[in-house]
Symmetry: none
DNA sequence: TATGAATGAGGGTTCATTCAT
DNA sequence: GATGAATGAACCCTCATTCAT
């Protein structure tokens, strides 16, 4: 009985995951607006009705996806920074940002999808609602880093917020339009400004 | 003959303006995506076909609106700053930003519409295409200010770009979500950071 | 399971047939051009969207209908000729044509629809594409008849082509306009000319 | 006063002719159905409302055009045959047909337009209604030719009718689809058959 | 649970026709 | 007579959602 149930649960999870990854690939390929439910279920290999067993509607699925993927990316970036940085706190932070920027440079569609759906505030809110996936509390990590490295920043929360906003906004515009410079050329200026904001 | 023509032209302009303001109010109320052409013509009090006499499609109208409204706002801000600032260049810039932030604080829908449709790169491109309305070349104004006030900034274009991106991004998030602080409380931090970016 | 599927398939076939016969009756009544998809689905008693489950667009349905109905008519004519003719080849052919002309005389709307959509070349091409319905290769039948009855015709293909073109064109004009004679009075002349074309 | 009136009349005629030739060129280029009134008035260089001063609607204009152009073509063909034929009656007729076929071979769009709108019966009817243009009574010419050349044909009207129908139908199919042979290769067979129909 | 046929409101767009100028 | 801005009915087509199986 338990086995049977757990098998059923496994199947359900599998279906949901199929739908999620189908939707994600379609969202980044064609944009959320231009992706139909039919597209999603076709790629997931399930029937149209099945979609409604797992998600209320397209917006529901979209929100779910954004949070999960953003979180994933941040986890990867932090891991990368931990592996590749020496003790300096600023370097660790910039390494993490560098990782994210590289991912986006190589995958403009992903950038587009996450940026359109991402904001610091919304992201922080959502983190608390996600239970199925382990998440990172970016702010806590940042505060801990400051403490650990004994850095003096008056308002760590606000400073982090501004760095995140500045970076995301600048990176998005540069990658999308190449203005005012291509991202690779713009990076030094950005990192310099970030250091200024931190060192203040 | 001239009178007759000019009267007709006046009528046409009026129709176009009716459509523009109907569209604008709907866009900020319900979002561009959720506004139909039928909605727009209903509110403008014209027939559906009339829409297509003035705009190619919804995107055409949207682009027109965004550029016009953004430009208008920036002109107002510059005027305001000119009236209310003393000689200091930083103060003038921050006064202009302050004006814009105040407008947005009072009109979240306008903020939403402009932010969703605004980007530094796109905006600069569009400025050159607008002929019917007098426009401001923000970058030129900024460069002239720097020269006039004899300020030393290594890359004025990049610095202005970063200030615009930082400000717009931060203001949007704060006004929309109140995170990490309400905009009124956040302002001092933002202006302080802007001064840091400029002074460097 | 099989029963269930077959029942569903039956229903689908029924829907498609409803659409086909609704479309056909409308096409002959008002012409293809003046028949809207709304007209068709209204008469078929299905929803608009259902149309697009079965046909790509109106042209798709029209082609389907023309080929199917033309083919049906030719099959009937050949059957009729086989039943009612003695051994003579010319008589068999003229009997078949006679059958078709009679059908058309009694159903001018059918004539109109088929004539407007029928041409020897197009028809021969389409024959090869029909898989769902058994079809007749008219040309093969004709050639076989010539061989069987040991008739000497230099270019059977061209001769058949000319007979088909002459007959369809003459019959259409006569039935539609009664010019230069009503079809019943014109028939003897037509058949005489056909015999001339054959015997040559 | 008379001058003034006649000048006005001239202007009106000119406008009408502009509309006719604009419409004709568009009809053969894009088909009647795909040509809008806007297209016609644009090419004619007049305003939309002007169209309705001269024609009831598109059908009215179409009918006018078909008759006029068909008639023109036939006149040209007869002229050509008169110039290039010796005394033989059959040769004269075939020369005339040859002229028409050549025009059509070189201008498939014209063929398409005239064929779609042409039929012997309709044409004969219309001939009597045309007053603004001098017209040819083809049938009379044919009968006169038979008399003049002392040829024995039982029912000249029916024979001519069949020749016209056969020729137009065959030529249309061959030029449009190249089936069963390209028109140049098909011609000898066609002319041979026509001679058979005549000589009988 | 899973299916996918069926729905029909609603979208964008076209264009013949009118009518005030 | 000539204009062309304005109209709005009518068109085709999409697609989120439902529901009988």
């Amino acid at each position: 009985m338990i086995d049977k149930n757990s098998k059923v649960e496994m199947n359900k999870l599998e279906k949901k995951n199929k739908l999620l990854s189908a939707a994600f690939s379609l969202f980044v390929e064609k944009g959320v607006k231009n992706t139909t439910i039919q597209d999603i279920v076709d790629r997931a290999g399930v029937a149209k009705g099945t979609f409604y067993l797992y998600f209320k509607d397209k917006d529901d699925l979209e929100e779910y996806l954004t949070t999960a993927r953003s979180n994933e990316l941040i986890c990867d970036a932090i891991s990368y920074a931990n592996k590749n940085s020496n003790g300096n706190f600023e370097d660790r932070l910039i390494n993490a940002l560098d990782y994210i920027i590289d991912v986006f440079s190589k995958d403009k569609l992903l950038l587009n999808f996450i940026y359109k759906n991402f904001s610091f505030g919304v992201f922080c809110d959502r983190l608390t609602n996600i239970v199925e996936h382990s998440t990172v509390n970016v702010l806590e990590k940042f505060k801990n880093g400051i403490k650990k490295y004994n850095i003096k920043i008056e308002n760590p929360e606000i400073t982090l917020f501004m760095i995140v906003e500045l970076t995301s906004s600048v990176v998005f515009t540069s990658i999308k339009s190449g203005k005012p410079l291509p991202i690779e050329e713009l990076k030094p200026y950005l990192y310099k400004k970030i250091r200024v904001l931190l060192s203040n």
